[in-house]
Structure formats: structure tokens, C-alpha cells
Symmetry: C2
Subunit: 342 residues, 2 copies
């Protein structure tokens, strides 16, 4: 009942193992009658090819690794999904490695590629440093990196996919400006981090380009949590000349803002229009539904996987740094004037 090998099939049918291999894999010539007999015998013997042996000989694993910092973060699920779509299409299995934001774990993931556990890897990392860049550059297998910042640099040996968060907050802010709102607040993450800075810059530039006055007191830093957004929003709302709209650097903070409004008796969106970013699952479930900038996670995953597939199939390509443009998903929370709630 249990496993068997091509040798046993060969013996059974009375041919050589090589013939069995050819019959079963379809590589090379094989007579029709022999082939039939071999296939039958394989079925009878409950044969299944041993992938380890196959891998050893062919130097292909048909697996790719996705190294992700944080499995618990819903942000990455969509990425996994995007990657998996492509992987499946090309006949690859997906190995998930959870790096916990730790360099040591990232290096372990890289080591796995080096040991040929998989043919290639997609990695999300927030700390590119000499050590992991060097390790990646030494690999002979392709690696695609992604995160929400812009290019890590130093990588002549890997491709890169990233989201333009600057364009994201800019879009969100423009959407508000187009409705004629003039006092627009911003709640960001830390401005000392690159990603926080970019989101802020998008907001600021949208104001400038839109000819809307920029006011320092309408900009607050927070920590990307719901509670953080709530606290900061309370301060914004109690200001003498409170904003009419708020752009939050992520959805969790935006939801915090919504709660603060509710508590202050302000109607969203009529008294206060709100735009978030990340387009979480939750965001379409809160009331009113939250307008949010989608960071296109699934698209990132798909693009990254695509590039990896191109590399794996030897297509010649420049090293690429693909910038994904986020897209604004308009829902009730930001519809201030026009009545077309969708």
C-alpha cells in the first residue's frame, strides 16, 4: 500500500527505470504501449514521485518563500493572497516564514534560500542594513523585496516593489479639497521615520498645490493606534478653530478620530469628513463607512511574485524598482457636500 519507486515499477513492467521516468514525466520518447503499462503499474503500486529526489537532480524545488514580519497583521494577508495567486498559477508552493521584525530571523530566511529550500524569496523588511543586503546579494537565487518605504538602495542583486504612500495621502487630501473643504487636519505617525514623513509630505503638498492654507496647529503626530488617534483627535477638536476634515495616516487612527467625533457630538461626515489609509477590512464595516486609501497589498504581492517568476524563468530583465500607486476608496465618511454617498 505504501510508497514505491520507479525501480519497482520498472521491475514489475520489465523495463528499465529510465523508461519509467520518461513515461511518467513525459520527457523524452516513450512507446505508447509501454507507457500505458507503466502508468497502470504505477497506479497499482500506489506510486508517487519523491520530490526530494527530483529536487536533488533537477535543482528546482518549485517553492518560493514569503518572509513576513508579522503574521498577525491583516496588512499582510492580502499580500499573501496576491503572492499565492501568482505562485499557484506557475505551479509553485508558498512557504511562509515569520520574521517577527528581527534581523536574525530575516537572516535565517535568507539561509533557507541559500540551502535551496526554495527557488526564490519575497521578503518584507523594515530594516535593511549591510548585513541582510550583503546576505541577499550573495545568494544565487532571486529575491524580491517590498515594504512601504522607498528603495533600500545597495541592491544590484534584487528587485523591489513598494507603495507610494506620499501619493496616497496626497490623493486623500485632494479628495477633500475638491469638495471645497479648507481646514483640513492631519494625524500622522512619527515624522522622524521615513514612512511617517512621506505620508505627511503628501498631505502638505496637496494643500500647497490646491492653494489651501497650511496650518501647523492642524498637524499632529501619533502612533498608528486607534487609541492614539482618539487622543490626538480630542485635542484637535477642542481647538478654537477646529478642522472640518481630518486625514489620518492609517485607518486605525481614523477610527479613533471617528470615536472622538461621536463623543464630541460631531456628525461624520457632515461636521467632520474623515479619510484614512490602509483600507482595512474593518474600514468598510464601521459606521459610517470609512473612506480610505488602499495601499494595494494584494497588488504588491502579485507584482512581487510576478517579478520573481520572471527571474525564475530566466527572462532577462533590468533590476526593477516598481512603484505601486495607491488608490482612494471613497465611502461615506468623507462625502461632505455632494449627496452621492455610494
Amino acid at each position: 500500500m505504501s510508497k514505491s519507486t520507479i525501480y519497482q515499477i520498472a521491475e514489475q513492467v520489465g523495463v528499465s527505470p529510465s523508461t519509467v521516468s520518461r513515461a511518467l514525466s513525459g520527457n523524452g520518447y516513450c512507446g505508447k504501449r509501454t507507457k500505458m503499462k507503466i502508468i497502470e503499474a504505477a497506479k497499482a503500486l500506489n506510486y508517487a514521485p519523491d520530490q526530494a529526489a527530483k529536487m536533488l537532480k533537477t535543482r528546482k524545488t518549485n517553492k518560493i518563500i514569503f518572509a513576513v514580519p508579522d503574521i498577525c497583521n491583516p496588512f499582510y494577508f492580502d499580500m499573501i493572497n496576491g503572492i499565492n495567486q501568482v505562485a499557484e498559477e506557475y505551479g509553485y508552493l508558498l512557504i511562509l516564514i515569520y520574521t517577527k521584525h528581527q534581523l536574525s530571523e530575516e537572516l535565517k530566511a535568507i539561509q533557507n534560500v541559500k540551502e535551496r529550500v526554495a527557488d526564490g524569496m519575497i521578503m518584507v523588511s523594515f530594516h535593511f542594513c549591510e548585513e541582510n543586503i550583503k546576505a541577499i546579494n550573495e545568494l544565487s537565487s532571486p529575491v524580491v523585496l517590498t515594504n512601504q518605504f522607498d528603495s533600500p538602495g545597495g541592491g544590484d542583486r534584487f528587485d523591489y516593489v513598494y507603495v507610494d504612500t506620499y501619493a496616497g495621502t496626497k490623493q486623500g487630501t485632494e479628495h477633500l479639497i475638491q469638495q471645497g473643504i479648507e481646514r483640513i487636519g492631519f494625524i500622522g505617525g512619527s515624522l522622524s521615520e521615513q514612512t511617517g514623513m512621506q505620508r505627511y509630505a503628501g498631505y502638505r503638498d496637496a494643500l500647497l498645490e490646491g492653494g489651501v492654507p497650511y496650518a501647523d496647529e492642524l498637524v499632529k503626530e501619533s502612533d498608528y493606534t486607534e487609541a492614539g488617534g482618539y487622543e490626538v483627535a480630542k485635542r484637535l477638536l477642542s481647538q478654537p478653530d477646529r478642522p472640518q476634515a481630518i486625514v489620518a495616516a492609517n485607518d486605525l487612527m481614523a477610527i479613533g478620530v471617528m470615536h472622538a467625533c461621536e463623543e464630541a457630538g460631531l456628525s461624520v461626515p457632515l461636521d467632520m469628513a474623515i479619510v484614512g489609509m490602509d483600507n482595512l477590512d474593518i474600514s468598510s464595516r464601521v459606521y459610517p463607512k470609512l473612506t480610505s486609501v488602499s495601499l494595494m497589498q494584494e497588488e504588491i504581492g502579485r507584482q512581487a511574485a510576478m517579478i520573481l517568476m520572471y527571474r525564475l524563468h530566466g527572462k532577462a530583465m533590468e533590476r526593477s524598482a516598481i512603484k505601486i500607486v495607491p488608490s482612494l476608496v471613497v465611502r461615506q465618511s468623507s462625502i461632505w457636500r455632494t449627496g452621492d454617498t455610494k
Copy 2:
């Protein structure tokens, strides 16, 4: 710079490949001086053991497969997380296979185990039938099955982990009864499915045992979606003697109920207490926060992985069917009388 083998190291150092293997893997004797030289040479040659070769010889892959119907469903992320915790602890990598609720994909996943892509598998399936049970029983590698129903039966060759959803709705209902609420409605999924029936039965039995009258008009079937819950709730709310509380068979429907209440001008929880089930991420973010029965996804994953590890390490065990008891997470939406909103 690229890959090298133990043969190259052997040549470099002037010993035999077997010695190199022993030095590097630590199996068997190896002189201290030789070992040092070998390790040095390995480093110099940028050596990494080829896992395919190792797998072929040792018959171990150090990988497990998790076959899951639906990557997009947040329900499974926590399971993945639980599984991964255990897998990592034991030095296994996790391969994710997305079966899309299709039997054919499940069979492919099983085939992967048969071909020794991984040492074992955890699978979530909603349609156990002769075909996949048979395929699993023919495997020589261990498989652990899980879903939300009770035992599939027919499996002398696999272990089983499941959640007692009956106990879940029962707990939720009892929680309401204990607060003195008497007219408690129930919104379930299809009662013709096992899982729907069990959730309903838990509700019904809680009423019976709590001495609270059961009324047919307070029980509605829906489809586990937010929109479905909303629709059905509207009907419940417009009844002459509307319920004071509602138990929903999952959180999405419960959120639909909340929206219906909001629309009808009913305060949650004062006019209407609500309990959901699944304890989604969202549920703690809606307003008011939703009381929900946690189905312990992470715990299921952890338990399933544990059992798999035991099997893989040859520990003798009875075939097990582990029942996980869900736990009620009380939040504002169900606090009717006492003032201790937490």
C-alpha cells in the same frame, strides 16, 4: 562565491567527504583539529548544505503543510499563527496551501504529502467524503484535521481538533440570561447544515436550562453575512413584541444587527443587547464594542500542530479528537444592566 559541496570542502581540507559531513552535522566522531579546519573551509567556500540531498537521504523534510480553504478569511490567520508558533519551536517550516473549498485542491494537497513535500499536514476541510478520507488514510505521513463541526468519522489514520460551537452559543445565551434578559432572539446560519444546527442548539438549550421561554418567532435563519444579519434583524425589530437581546451565530451578522438597531433608533446595549461569535478583529473596533464568543482559532492551530509534532516524533498516542471549548469575550454590546462596561 556561489554554492559549494562537502566534496569541495573535503578536497580543500584533505579529508574525506564523510568526515566533513560528520564535522558539520555533529553526527559521529570527529577530531577537534580536523573539525576546526573543516568549519573554516566551509565558511571560506560559502558552503550551505543542500536540503534536497539531505531530505533524500534522511527522509525528513522538516516542513509541514497547512491546507486552508480560504486565505482571505481572517478566521484562519490566527490558526496559521498558532500553527506557526509550534512549528517554529520544533524547527519546521510552514507551507501554505489554499484549497478554495474545492475537493480537487484538497486532493492535490494530500498528493503533496504523498510525494513527501512535507512530513505531515494540517487540513481544514468542510467536505469530508469517501474520496479525501480514503486518500488521507492511504498516506504514511500524519495528518491532523480541523474544522468547526464535530468529528468526520471514518478516520483511524488521522487526528482531529474541533471547536464546540454548541457550547459557544450556549455560553453567549447564558450570559444574557444571567443578566435577567428574557426575550432573546437568535439569528443563525442555515439550520440544515451541521454547524448552523449546533449553534442553534446551544442557544435553544441555554434557554431551556435557564428556564426562559423559547419562542419560534425570535429565531431567524440568515447567511453569515453582514447584509444578511441586517435584513433579518430589521424583521425581528419590527415584530410587535421585539426581543431585548439577540444572539447572532457570527460576528458579521451581529454587526449587521447593530446597524439595524442604529437605524431603528435603538440603543445598543440598553435597548438591545447583542452577542456575536468568532471574535473577529473588527468586533473590538465597532462601536459599541461587540461581545463575542471566541472560537479559539489560535488555540486550535496550536493544538493541531502539537498533535502533529507528537506524531512526527513517533510518540505513541491514541488517535485523538480534541474538543476545544470556546470562550466568551464580554464587551459593551451585551452589558444590559450592570454598569461595568469594560
